[in-house]
Amino acid sequence: MAADRKRVAGPESSVAPLVEYPIDYQSWTPFTETRHDSHRQPEDLRPIYLKTGLISEANGSAYIELEKTKLTCGVYGPRPVKRAGQGFSDRGTLNCEIKFATFSCVKRRGTMRDAQEKELSQILSQGLTPAVRLELFPKSNVDIYITVLESDGWGSCIAAAFTVASVALAHAGIEMLDLVAGCSASYIPTSIPSSASTSESTSESSEGAGSITPQIFMDADLEEEKFQQGSIVLAYMPSLNQTTHVLQTGKAEGAIISQSVEHCVEACNKIFAVMNHALLESIDQK
């Protein structure tokens, strides 16, 4: 990797040390009948803390905290597009940029935007564009910048990004059809398949090798995601009852997927109430 001349330089390459766990260390597994956070049930979300108005220079801003996942969002716009030579467009554009701080993940992230961040930025733009009334500001651009300060679970990070971006857009006074709430769910097997284990497996008899039904865990954190078979992230407009984006990874049967979408929709409705509360508070502050 070329040395970044514009930053104070460190060594050419560095690695994180190898972490060795003691032999008697019990790390969390899904087979222990509880979640990683023992206060939560599989259908519970983490408590959400949402606040607006932390960035005075921005047109709109919001901060979200889901226990250990922390994101800030700043919205600038509508601003005129710099390069007018790209042809007249009667619709405005939405530009979303997400950046993980170098200290936000367990392994230090690079300072330059990598492919993962670029893909996430695209996903966010796709999920938020249907909700914003872009036809009201032609030749203009709305910039959404999100910084992830701490990340505890990939799915919850993306879902929180949708939520915080919508609240920041609303705080900026940009007209939208509806707020977009984001929610994530993981499919985690809670019992060892009998074909892979010895006779000590106490799960219900599974017909065929490896065909155990995974359980749906809402808003999984990093430790829980290590065991997931698949996951789904949903971006949903609660008042219009429309989904703007679905991101499904891993393998799962159709029945599980439709069940998890229902759970996510329910959770999004709860998140919608939190978003409204945060926006009402910001009006009271003004």
Binding site: P22, Y25, F103
Partner: protein
């Protein structure tokens, strides 16, 4: 016939003649936001805000918010310093914190602030880099100290330096064992004084920044973003806990009399003492 008089609302006047609008306030001894000329904005410091980092802190000076995280990694030492580790501070000014910054590589201002802070840390020998040695000639710790500006309202130097010093104070690194070319640390269980170590900082430099206005010979403490834009220059003075100077950084094309400089240093002494109290309280 009487000549027509032009009158403006205060906000229009501020946009048309920012310097004149400002001068109307400073001649009365106040600033548009109600502060006195030598007053600093309310400051808060929070320690240990990011659990994925080895050490972290968040500092808020008025509307400027900086979050600093320290990550420790292992690298080979330089050939001419085989028993010294690395301390790599950087300040990120992203387009999120203000519309002044464009997306892309670090702007000149970010580079200047990063380099100024690097100079203060290195020249005043805040940390003995030999403390970061794991195995001489083979492996040393690298401390990546990244200060991310979350909201920008002027005076990034003070906020970034305070956040970096608070984060360095907060650092806890697991004790490493060197085994045939790999570095191992123990995992699980909480970090205690037995399985981890903290950094021994020789001194804790903190700073106070002042904006200089040439034409009116005014010095303002802790400029916010509007004051920064119309000022002719800025001076930042860093002092450690014994009151010794750790660095003076002057940017811009303003000139400043010697007595004004002395006043700045006195004011900086009081301010850094106040900042230290705030840092130690929380």
């Amino acid at each position: 016939m009487a000549t027509p008089a032009f009158t403006f609302t205060p906000s229009t006047f501020q946009k048309l003649h920012p310097a004149e609008f400002f001068r109307r306030f400073t001649t009365e001894g106040v600033r548009p936001d109600g502060r006195l000329l030598d007053a600093f904005r309310p400051t808060t410091v929070h320690h240990g805000v990011i659990s994925t980092a080895n050490g972290s802190a968040m500092v808020r000076i008025g509307g400027t918010t900086v979050v600093c995280g320290v990550k420790a990694e292992v690298a080979e030492p330089k050939l001419d310093a085989p028993d010294q580790g690395y301390l790599v501070p950087n300040v990120e000014l992203s387009p999120m914190c203000s519309s002044k910054f464009r997306p892309g590589p670090p702007s000149e201002q970010a580079q200047a602030v990063s380099e100024a802070i690097n100079r203060v840390l290195k020249e005043s020998k805040v940390l003995d880099l030999k403390d970061l040695c794991i195995e001489e000639g083979k492996a040393v710790w690298v401390l990546y100290v990244d200060a991310v500006c979350v909201a920008y309202d002027g005076n990034i130097f003070d906020a970034a330096l305070a956040a970096i010093m608070a984060a360095l104070n907060n650092v806890r690194i697991r004790k490493p064992t060197y085994q045939e070319g790999t570095i191992k640390v123990s995992g699980g269980s909480t970090a205690t004084d037995e399985n981890s170590f903290t950094l021994k900082l020789a001194r804790t430099p903190l700073s106070a920044t002042f904006a200089i206005f040439d034409t009116t010979l005014t010095i303002l403490a802790d400029p916010n973003v509007t004051e920064e834009t119309i000022s002719d220059g800025q001076i930042s003075i860093a002092l450690d806990e014994t009151g010794q100077l750790c660095g003076v950084t002057k940017i811009g094309a303003a000139s400043c009399s010697q007595s004004a400089m002395k006043d700045c240093v006195q004011s900086a002494k009081k301010r850094t003492q106040q900042l230290r109290n705030i840092m130690n309280q929380q």
